[in-house]
């Protein structure tokens, strides 16, 4: 049974621990079945769910309208994320079909080789087990996350934002029916149907049932999960992304990349927040860029050298270099060159996505090797740091953690590798 909003109300007292215990137990049992499900049945389920979502467009939009009616006090960016329309419903269905087209990661066995003892050793990719995902606002995460977990052979427990409760429940019905129709356990994807905040606490404590937690949302959520989770987490902190325009950069590429990285979208974590420019090239690249940012309505905050070029630019303070604006604001600093750029990124960056624009192979090699971020880019917009752009089909999030999965997390990040040893009666001497 997929647990949805039926008969649950945030104001009614209920036992969240027992509720999560039931969900966790069902997820664990479903995970065993999912781990041995065939590629064919998983793909069939994804395709049936995609069809269900297309067929249920009217019901999903009606549920979304209910959510929107109750969410009128949300700020506009959140409202925009919450809103579904026929195009977005179609994109959800397409996302499921794309995940069906991806190669099945489960069972992939690599590097089997003989050891001097005579045994063969290799590694087999396997599901993690039960994946808990806690997210906010965007109902499409329900479909995306379910698709990736399902294809990777995991069971998923999804806890969306209370503001999207009806939308998520409508999508959950499409998923559950698709699983049942293809003979897979419907508990493989369970959508938490209560807005009780204690249920999140119970989920974070349920390390017996949940193998990994992926939080997707604002800082408050991430901090709560970091503090309370009793199981490993795959999480995303800030996205203070940099582009460094090296002395040897091509001026046209530098202009295009610096502009696109900031202005293609403002509210995303891979958006440029601080532009670093090598002093020798600053006067050739900055004036035109400053004009273009102005035309796009971007507020600029600069170091003294940048302000010397254009006194209308606001002075950047120390805190600006740490800032993830998520808004049409950009900090700009002139640096001596590559070393100071790398040092700036190390000091102020968030290890998310950082790029260099250069035609110099030595600078490129050093930047790509030495900048310790989840994505490093050469002559490309930071906006490419995204599961779809990387070919993962979708992403359950972008990780700024340093172990397990870094950057966009797709199927591989939702699996693990176990060792496989094959002998023919071999014993250890």
């Amino acid at each position: 049974m997929t647990r949805t909003a039926d008969n649950l109300d945030s104001t009614e007292a209920f036992d969240s621990e027992a509720y999560i215990d039931g969900i966790g137990r069902a997820a664990r049992a479903a995970a065993v079945e999912m781990a041995r499900a065939s590629t064919q049945s998983k793909n069939e389920a994804l395709s049936v769910i995609a069809g269900n979502i297309e067929d249920a467009e009217a019901a999903i939009l009606a549920a979304n309208a209910e959510d929107l009616a109750q969410a009128s006090d949300l700020e506009s960016a959140l409202l925009e994320r919450l809103t579904l329309n026929p195009k977005r419903v179609g994109a959800m269905a397409d996302g499921l079909k794309q995940v069906a087209d991806l190669a099945d990661p489960v069972g992939e066995t690599t590097a089997m080789h003989y050891r001097p003892s005579g045994i063969q050793v290799g590694q087999m990719r396997v599901p993690i087990g039960v994946v808990g995902i806690i997210y906010e606002s965007r109902p499409n995460v329900t479909a995306d996350a379910a698709a990736l977990c399902l294809k990777a052979g995991n069971a998923a427990i999804l806890r969306g934002g209370s503001e999207a409760l009806n939308s998520n429940a409508a999508i959950a019905v499409c998923i559950a029916e698709g699983l049942l129709k293809t003979g897979l356990p419907d508990a493989a994807v369970q959508v938490i149907g209560t807005t009780d905040r204690a249920a999140v606490g119970a989920m974070l404590a349920a390390h017996k049932w949940v193998d990994v937690i992926v939080p997707r949302g604002g800082k408050g959520l991430i901090e709560r999960v970091s503090r309370e989770a009793r199981m490993p987490t795959i999480k995303h902190l800030d996205g203070v992304c940099h582009v460094f325009i090296d002395t040897s950069a091509d001026v046209t590429k530098a202009f295009d990349i610096a502009l696109n990285s900031k202005t293609q979208r403002y509210g995303t974590c891979n958006t440029l927040e601080t532009l670093l420019v090598a002093r020798p090239i600053a006067s050739r690249v900055l004036p035109k860029l400053i004009g273009a940012y102005r035309d796009a309505g971007v507020e600029l905050r600069g170091c003294p050298e940048v302000r010397a070029m254009d006194p209308d630019i606001v002075a950047a303070t120390e805190s600006d270099w740490y800032e993830e604006y998520l808004a049409p604001i950009l900090a700009i600093r002139v640096v001596d060159g590559l070393d100071q750029a790398i040092e700036h990124i190390r000091r102020y960056g968030s290890q998310h996505t950082d790029g260099i624009v250069t035609e110099d192979l030595g600078s490129a090699r050093r930047f790509l090797a030495e900048v310790d971020s989840s994505s490093v880019m050469l002559n490309a917009s930071t906006r490419f740091a995204d599961g779809y752009e990387y070919g993962l089909g979708a992403e359950v999030g972008i990780s700024t953690d340093k172990i397990h999965a870094r950057g966009p997390v797709g199927l591989t990040g939702l699996t693990s590798q176990k060792w496989v040893v094959i002998g023919d009666g071999h014993v250890r001497g």
Copy 2:
């Protein structure tokens, strides 16, 4: 400066937070240098350290004798682990040379491919940063762990057991001198020189400086680390390992593997603890095995069917199936066949190492795919689950976690992968 036991005493009050803060800050700075150290300089350091250890054999043995003199109240297994001799010192030096011979994992870039947008995307293997290792008794872990962390481009903070303080300090001197001689920062490997337990607490709280913690030791240590660590951990819980003798097993291979898995060494985590035998083959394989176990001095605890074959066998209770004996004791159960064996392992096992003995390809495929343990084995002794046997050169531990690293953790487990994007002025449309 490498912090060793100088001027520190467990009885003297000191500020463990400030102490760990100093160590952490130095480790973070050293990690930056280590991440860009050349393969050649890392290998040279390993080789110089190996030579230092060989040259310092007398000093290391004298320090070890001091530790042993103070540790006379330890139980014999722990004393055995603490004891160094010329052969063990030589093995430490050889281990360092073996790690020098391994390929450098840092910078390995895989699967670079073009995306429809025109960018090239791939993944580069990079150091994790600062690795904290907390371990007990065996001084050789100091050399092994330092070698692996160094080769993987990390900085290491090592906190050995208080009983091995002098031995570890003597080894630390060899490491620090080797690092300095080859121009690498000596803070790349710091050995905690206090037995203050508060220092462990401060280390577990120092998520600002330490990227991952690896505890190696008894249950008390693992539980404390799980509870207190504010950073990700790579850890090992129980090793309740199984061998399942399938109906179609070769009787000779089954005998050899079941005997070796239990008796080759009793105190290790990959030692067999419960033997499962398919009913149709039980009468052909068990009587001879029971005799051999008896000859080896192994106490047997069996299910009713096993006891029907030999009434001298003690009756196994429910708790025996969960037990990691780490001793010459073995539980034996007759099962219907493959399904019941997999179910038993799922219920009672610890997801460490489990093997099947069979000549049937279908059984082998199912067991290897469906048993969710860090190592799964076909026709081979469970005792092979080991970093050296797998060709990792050494191991910093065996992980029973499900994310990042499973099973023996070597160089790969001490690194991560970041995304690399290469364009030529590409922007997102």
